[in-house]
Amino acid sequence: MASNVVSPASKTSSRGGDSRKHSDDTRLALLFITPAAVGFLVFLIWPLIRGIYLSFTSYNLLTAATWNGLNNYKQMVLDPVFWNALKVTLEYVVINIGVQTIIALVIAVMMQRLTKSLVVRGIILTPYLVSNVVAALVGLWILDTNLGIFNELLKLIGLNPVGFFTDGPWVIPTIALVNVWRYVGYTSLLIFAGLQTIPPDLYEAARTDGASEPQMFVRITLPLLRPILALVLIISIIGSFQVFDTVSVTTQGGPVDSSRVLQYYIYDMAFGRFRFGYASALSVALLIVLMIVTFIQYRLTRAGQTDLA
């Protein structure tokens, strides 16, 4: 196989002949990382800097941004809609992550102890393959107040239909659960993969000693899974804070502001009211919240350490 290799650019590596030059690939390496480096600088680093800069300006897209110092931030601190958005987002994250992590853990442990079937794992993962928009539309239909099958079932057992997407207190839990449906399988497969790192003979030994399944779960599975679980939590919480798609498709922030999550408020500020400067300041606030959450979580869960070592 190797003998067939033709060398269109053999000059680069064999030029010169002395061994030092031969083993130094700097020029080729720079060539190879150029596209990625351009993408990295132009679409990741530059927007990061620019986003922070724009947060100190007044900018409506049409005329050039003008510096207005801390005005956006001063306004943000006094903006009740911002604080409400923060509260609503937190409520969403708590419900979404709480329910999702527990169900995912149950599914993962059951998969580990019951079956390694690819079909089962495939079924569990299926909702992850469709977009948030699809999940939102299906949720909207199934949970519709008048015609939704879920409310029909509620009526069947004698309960009153619920306005899942129209009744203030219900909207955030509903949106959170719709997204649990889409992401729980993915999360459970992540945890499942983590479970595979626990040596099977630990369970065997525990069983010989007469341990029950629940005991094994508490004494073996949970402690050994902790570092993986912490990573899963960090990743899913960061994702959860960025909730937008479902809100945009179903409630558009309503009723009133009861589902106006931070990301939707940012979008609305930028594209509804063309206040890009203020929207950027809100984005910086979200970025800071994410950094704080990650930091606290990392410290609390000691994500980098494992009990296996």
Binding site: L48, M111, L114, L125, L129, S131, V138
Partner: protein
């Protein structure tokens, strides 16, 4: 994003022998666990059935038979509406919005954007991963660390400034404008491929060098073919992610010419009459948007399922 890497999950950890005393108790637990598992699987799949059932129904009958488990007033009109084969008047009569809508166009747009993103991201990331895994250069470590730090920047933060940039580049409402920001790099993809490239034995590379191959030749004729499996996995996952993306295309596309399926679905939903939504049409459109990825999943199920896991991130 989570780290995706093939994890060996075929080993069976169930102990081969179970003490007879514990067997009965365990069995009861297993039955309960299986029941829970089946319930979870039904809840997972039921919405898909409900999409199909509704899409095959007609709006008038949905109104009168909301809880019938089978399609009511069976009709394919909803699909005709979605693909623009129905006249405006007929669509309104069937409970639709009447605005012309053509999902073929959106399907085409989604395919183009996802192909551009996947081809660009996977190829350019493979090049960078090769430089980080197999080429010898002085700044390799620090540069890789900087790229890796890029994983920490939440995508959401780059959207607004990137929109301003794409606008300045006059690429608003174009397919290339949607694809460009994610075409050149994914720190995750570089990290993912670098792991595989690094495992290729040095002897193979050295043998190729002795045979007169260049480093470029080694990349194209040795490293890429030998990493076909992880590259395919990465490509499939990138394709799915790109296909399902909503927020960024929503910002960039304004008209039909750059509208991708996710955005078109949301537009379709916002056009439907508020008093009596066109549920049959909406679910038909939903099915059209979701089906390609579900088919892709069927084809690559083993690869996708096994790719989800942690390996390497510490």
């Amino acid at each position: 994003m989570a780290t995706l890497a093939p994890v060996d999950v075929t080993t069976d950890s169930t102990p081969p022998t179970i003490a007879p005393a514990g067997r009965k108790r365990v069995s009861v637990g297993r039955v309960i666990a299986w029941v829970v598992m089946v319930v979870i699987m039904v809840v997972t799949l039921a919405p898909f059935y409900w999409i199909i059932r509704t899409a095959l129904s007609s709006n008038g009958d949905l109104l009168t038979h909301p809880s019938d488990p089978f399609p009511v007033g069976f009709s394919l009109d909803s699909f005709k509406r979605v693909f623009g084969w129905q006249t405006g008047a007929a669509a309104v009569a069937a409970g639709g919005a009447g605005q012309p809508i053509n999902f073929w166009l959106y399907l085409r747009n989604s395919v183009i954007v996802s192909c551009l993103v996947t081809a660009g991201q996977v190829f350019f990331s493979a090049m960078a991963a090769y430089a980080f895994a197999r080429l010898k250069w002085r700044a390799r470590g620090p540069v890789f660390a900087v790229f890796l730090a890029g994983l920490m920047v939440p995508a959401i933060f780059t959207f607004l400034p990137n929109f301003v940039l794409i606008k300045e580049l006059h690429m608003i409402d174009t397919l290339i404008g949607i694809a460009l920001p994610s075409m050149l790099i994914s720190p995750f993809a570089i990290f993912f491929l670098r792991q595989f490239f690094a495992t290729i034995p040095n002897e193979i590379e050295e043998a190729a060098l002795i045979d007169g191959a260049s480093k470029v030749g080694i990349f194209f004729r040795l490293v890429i073919p030998m990493s076909a499996a992880p590259i395919t996995t990465l490509a499939v996952l990138t394709y799915i992610t790109s296909w399902n993306d909503y927020f960024w295309p929503l910002m960039v596309s304004y008209t039909d010419k750059s509208r991708v399926l996710t955005v078109a679905l949301a537009v379709f939903k916002s056009q439907t009459p508020n008093t009596g939504p066109d549920w049959a049409g909406l679910m038909a459109a939903t099915l059209v948007a979701a089906l390609p990825m579900l088919v892709l999943f069927l084809v690559f199920a083993r690869r996708i399922v096994n790719s989800i896991g942690f390996s390497g991130i510490k």
